[in-house]
Symmetry: D2
Subunit: 479 residues, 4 copies
Amino acid sequence: MAVKHVDEYYESLNTMNPTAYILGEKVDQPYKHPMIKQMVAGVAETYRLANTSEGKKYLVAKSDLIDEEVSRFVKFYKSNDDLLAKVRMLKYLSHNIGTCFMRCTGMDAMNAVGIEAYRCDAEHGTSYWPRLLEFMKKVQRNDFVVFSGVTDVKGDRSLRPSQQKDPDMYVHVVDRNEEGIVVRGAKVHQTGSLCSHWGLIVPTREMREADKDYAVCFALPTDAKGLIHVYGRGTLEARSLEDIDLGNARFSKFAPMIIFDDVFIPWDNVFLCGEHEFAGAMVRNFGNYHRHSHGGCKCGVGDLFIGAAALAADYNGLKKVSHINNKLAEMMKIVQAIYGCSIAASVEGKPTESGIYNVDPVLSNTSKLFEGKDLHEVIRMMIEIAGGEVADLPSDRDMENPVIGPMLKKYLKGVDNVSTEDRIRLFRLIEKLAFESRDIVSNIHGAGSPETHRMTMLRNADLEQKKEFVKKIAKIVDQ
Amino acid sequence: MAVKHVDEYYESLNTMNPTAYILGEKVDQPYKHPMIKQMVAGVAETYRLANTSEGKKYLVAKSDLIDEEVSRFVKFYKSNDDLLAKVRMLKYLSHNIGTCFMRCTGMDAMNAVGIEAYRCDAEHGTSYWPRLLEFMKKVQRNDFVVFSGVTDVKGDRSLRPSQQKDPDMYVHVVDRNEEGIVVRGAKVHQTGSLCSHWGLIVPTREMREADKDYAVCFALPTDAKGLIHVYGRGTLEARSLEDIDLGNARFSKFAPMIIFDDVFIPWDNVFLCGEHEFAGAMVRNFGNYHRHSHGGCKCGVGDLFIGAAALAADYNGLKKVSHINNKLAEMMKIVQAIYGCSIAASVEGKPTESGIYNVDPVLSNTSKLFEGKDLHEVIRMMIEIAGGEVADLPSDRDMENPVIGPMLKKYLKGVDNVSTEDRIRLFRLIEKLAFESRDIVSNIHGAGSPETHRMTMLRNADLEQKKEFVKKIAKIVDQ
Amino acid sequence: MAVKHVDEYYESLNTMNPTAYILGEKVDQPYKHPMIKQMVAGVAETYRLANTSEGKKYLVAKSDLIDEEVSRFVKFYKSNDDLLAKVRMLKYLSHNIGTCFMRCTGMDAMNAVGIEAYRCDAEHGTSYWPRLLEFMKKVQRNDFVVFSGVTDVKGDRSLRPSQQKDPDMYVHVVDRNEEGIVVRGAKVHQTGSLCSHWGLIVPTREMREADKDYAVCFALPTDAKGLIHVYGRGTLEARSLEDIDLGNARFSKFAPMIIFDDVFIPWDNVFLCGEHEFAGAMVRNFGNYHRHSHGGCKCGVGDLFIGAAALAADYNGLKKVSHINNKLAEMMKIVQAIYGCSIAASVEGKPTESGIYNVDPVLSNTSKLFEGKDLHEVIRMMIEIAGGEVADLPSDRDMENPVIGPMLKKYLKGVDNVSTEDRIRLFRLIEKLAFESRDIVSNIHGAGSPETHRMTMLRNADLEQKKEFVKKIAKIVDQ
Amino acid sequence: MAVKHVDEYYESLNTMNPTAYILGEKVDQPYKHPMIKQMVAGVAETYRLANTSEGKKYLVAKSDLIDEEVSRFVKFYKSNDDLLAKVRMLKYLSHNIGTCFMRCTGMDAMNAVGIEAYRCDAEHGTSYWPRLLEFMKKVQRNDFVVFSGVTDVKGDRSLRPSQQKDPDMYVHVVDRNEEGIVVRGAKVHQTGSLCSHWGLIVPTREMREADKDYAVCFALPTDAKGLIHVYGRGTLEARSLEDIDLGNARFSKFAPMIIFDDVFIPWDNVFLCGEHEFAGAMVRNFGNYHRHSHGGCKCGVGDLFIGAAALAADYNGLKKVSHINNKLAEMMKIVQAIYGCSIAASVEGKPTESGIYNVDPVLSNTSKLFEGKDLHEVIRMMIEIAGGEVADLPSDRDMENPVIGPMLKKYLKGVDNVSTEDRIRLFRLIEKLAFESRDIVSNIHGAGSPETHRMTMLRNADLEQKKEFVKKIAKIVDQ
């Protein structure tokens, strides 16, 4: 089968040489950098689990494209069951990894692009769909990690791409010839770009005729010439450098900014170029899929918020306290709404002309809206239940100091049968779950912001039908 | 097939003679009473729709019990698809009826009782399950309306049934002989009891050894000797008497109190009697099913809240106002959470030994918790969008007064292309949707109250597993 | 002193003869009509309490205008302490009356008009302020009830007054001569118009040059020729007709629609006529004052929600249950926010040129926003704690039926030491508190709707100053 | 006057030599340590502002104790106006400092201790009150910074102090002689302990007879022998070390753990020792005062959340977008509730026997409950409005890299008239405001956790009176 082993994944990274900057320094072999290795480890864990008997049930499926078993991360959604399986896979992985594992954006982008590539070919006689199928076969056979490049830097948000003072504020075609195109621009929040083999770049919004150079979709290797990854900062990055007080003992997330410094893309890897009327649908498809994905992964993380709060209550001596139980139930309510609406969006999904299944957009956006708004309150409740120790906790270095270490171990003890060290490990994990900016901001802005979800819901909900129900029941007869 | 026509339903009611009191008066043929006829009409509409080509798809299914097509309202849930179909049926009916149609409690009770009857027979060698199957065959062949009797009056809530000063505060067996049992007590909130042919009576809580006379489950005809229905009052009942300003032009809800004044029940209709350890499971099953049902019907009503608010905005000249759109999206968010979690509870349901499928209890209770808490805010938003005219609106009689009628028509006009009469009809419907106590209190307390849902979620959520995930991620190893 | 006794109030009503319609019938002496008498009783209670030693402390103050003790309901706000005293008076009255007592709208309107009358005179040389002072003296000496007429019917909300197809959708001047003006139009939600001696009519929005005929403010007696009161309907009005199952045993609210069928107003009673630039400020002042008033009265009603819920828990045998205590605290949180922000709006109020004190608009609108949005959840929690009996409760007539009456008394009993009758009285009061449309809709729309409050807060909050704080802290120096 | 200049404050710190550990290292002169200097700067700013003409109005008042002008931070609350002035002072300081300035805990503790010292003397003939007055005179004359030590480490929360397996889990007296007492134990979250001259240590909970050794209150210098400060970690501490990407350019917060390694306290500095019945009241007074303080300072920080969000919208080109305005208003609603309830708690405060004024406990706890629960949502809204750039932002070092620096400046630009650098400064401040664990956890747990506030509200709200109002209105007459 085409599913890589974890060692093969690490080896494959060694063959690549992306241009990467970390805190102002150009870095070779970024995969091994101490600030990145925990993030690579998260992706690696998906390979490891895919090769376990339990994990395989969630992670592996037959592809009708290459007639082999492949990772679900590189497979088209060809049924409602595929959509259900995706949600369950992501929940399973979150339970094991506890943060982003960075392979969903590519998966969702492939499907989002596929639907429109097919439609564009049907309308314009282009050949984007067969090109994409070839790309997909390669990805499946090599079990590649593919990141998706969606969010442009956008400059002045009140102006369209072609109206910006600096024309490069959205990625666009600056040159083209028989072999391919040259693109320029920058994208932010590129989840896992430095753990990936390829990127699939998608327009970030709908485009008009005047914006047609911005209506461009393509794939490129992570180490393509002219592609620069800038790692950026997160709130807890310094902990990675020390490898102590990490919280999540093995895994972490990052999302670089990438700059396209006039990158050449051969035509074989171009899946949209100028047919502006498909740009908006591509990113809307992506958004709906990715909100659906969050319904799985963030529900899984939500279970960890609940488990961590419940465990902290145990460790503090507050097991079965009524108001804590009440809060745990309220936490579940939100987490289950995220999950339930994503499951329902799978069941109510519909096939497109390409054979790829779409999710129900109202339900998938509802799921994400709970994540974007209400999950923050779940985090607050976790902190509330855990208690004040989530802040100000002495460091691992303090614990190892011969003078104060023993005192700290004495005084930071909770219930009798739990070691001070374990209690601290738990508080460090809660700190990580609550204060890692990349995870929290992703809850709110990942796959679009709450306002986008509301607008998508309004656009897709049949308001006129609801008004007709009302008229019938109130006996209102339009003249 | 065994599905009745609407006329047959009305005729069948004429053959029954229940003991009924309405506002202090004993009433014959209560089905025709002006305060009840709109409620009977709601049930009748389910028969009418079952015989339409569209409605049949939602309402009719093959029963393996009598090998005929039957109403879904009298069928066991034998698959995840049956559970999904139930939710969709109830949403469909709400869209058409706009209030409770009163047939779900019986449907949910049959399944809830079935699971435990089967288990009790397996454990105690009783014969409740075959008796229930015979009862079900009769119900299916006659397409009966069955109400479920769950909520006892309960007296002092801090005391168990056998501890109450008055032993009759929970329905219990006061006598028994070879032919059957005699029961005494009272149940409140008996949705649709006076529109029904039979009732299926279920214990309202778990019981202990000392309470075993209260662990009793049985069926009885609505006009059984000694069974008294007391209609009670609702907030808007007076409108029914006049047949004007009704709001919902044809349908309404009621839920009498019933008194068991020493009612005899033959053994054939007894499905639990003394095996106290099954009482709690019966009512918990019922609760989980009925919260799942609300996920369908109240989502449907929620769509009407949204439609009514949107239509009111149109009629007021406020179409596409930004803050109103925002509120409509927020209303959808809650309504979709109710629906989505119920759909997901269907998909994740599991079969029991009896072959009847259970819903996922965490998801079905999550759905109901949104109804019990958040749907109230949806109603508030509907009122907010509609505007102050929801209160104080002149009556239909004012509109018909020759002096002020024309003035009112002039001054209560909204946008140009909508008649004042239609605008008023809409506000009256909104008033009904927002202020009919039976509907609103049912949102909060129907199928159990929010605190029950939270406790059920906690009991069924695997908190220990969540703690294990957390320990693994934080590298906490139990000694 | 100028404070009337309750008998004098009732006698004074007998001297008036307003044109009133109730459910389609023209009614003489409406004060005695069974559907109105509970509402008149609420106003009368303010007179009764003003003459008690406790009530006098809240309700009576010295007026510098006539140098006598007068009712606070007819006094200008001349200090922060006056504003504080108003809030405390209204809370005190709500504790005793449990619903609207209908005298605040006039009080707030007098002050709102006063500020702008003074400014208009200063700018335009008009004499509105001295006229208003004369009017106020008369009102103080006679201790009149004055209702304020604010909310026009408004037609198509997307059009300004002068743009409406029917020019009468906002009250306007249709004729004028040396003696006075003639006005036409209609106002809705005229709280207590039929319990009042006079009305003070205020423009409902800001006006432009083209709308100047709509920029009109004036006083008129409740029985002015051409003024028609249409009582309208409330959800629970039928209970008043029977005088049983009232819930609130003595008091209720109503808010007619009034129609100005070409009413003549002498110049002495005109306080704005054409100076359109003051219209908006008048109604904004009124809004800010009236939201501040709600901070007192609705906080008082909120205390009743809390008390009723706590008492219902007692009567059900659920005293000191943890989750109920938690909910009671949450109810207090909202009610105290309403109160606290209104108190703070008093303390931070500022004098205007007229000597009348304005409230802090951000804080008074914050108070009302909690009422408009969050108080609805307090009501839901009251219903949740009280339990399902809030709906479907048998009527008083059922209780008196010789057959079922004794059974109902037996079965509807709660804890041992509380009679069934008292338990039912409590549930009826809760029903009234939760489902009387006039009260609930007033929470949401009274004194403007939540969106208005948000906009008022934004307009009055110094956002630019907040941005400057941020720049300083972030070391951002504008170039 | 007794108000220090900022230079004097820095000089005074140089005279002290506390035992401090930072990330495992013992540190001399901790005031100058790069991880602490921003925090010392926050306290220093209070001295600087007290000596400006604007700041003096907020920060300085006459003390009747030494008949001199002193800092409000070291003055008893002797009137409602003093309480109002405190709230306004703290709001003013937050506007200028943007984080905790660490002097309120001592101020609140002095007053909290004073009330009970007075009462204890009256009951037991002790002399705590005159001792405290002497201590206060010294503090006032020297304008000392005093931190309060409240929160013990607490061990197993289900056990009382005297029941703990390790008797040192709460600070207690381990020895005593004629000169004084010896104390042992540890306290966490000691806001500003390393910026202070003295600490005032208060019991953390109510105590019973068996716990009387734990009922101890005393003052000690920050560098007392045996007192160890352990700095702990915060989420963003690493930024301090670099002095770049700080967000808040000059100020930050910290809250060490302190260990009492058998510290000797002379009797003159002991204000409670064994009179266990006053321990609970001391900490409850403190809690109520400190929640009241948060009503000022966190309202001020809340204004910064609003200002930062509004400025980010400007910088992104999204000025006056409807849904953003709506969110800004919602943010204000919460922030104003925090402020308004704190102002109201001042106005409704009452004097105690000692002459010190207490705040209204229901209102001050309501204020804090909004901070503990709802302010978290305000932070989420700030992030939502600001956009995804709050995470993943390239570091200052990236900006200075000659290769990528210019590209980053090009691509991270927003609207035309704002430099990229200023836009980044703003996002860094937002990151600091949203993700500094010490500030956020203080919102939730500072001055007690939400559950404590609810319980305090319930204890202080007169529920029985509310029930009596309800009975009167429902005509329920107790037999």
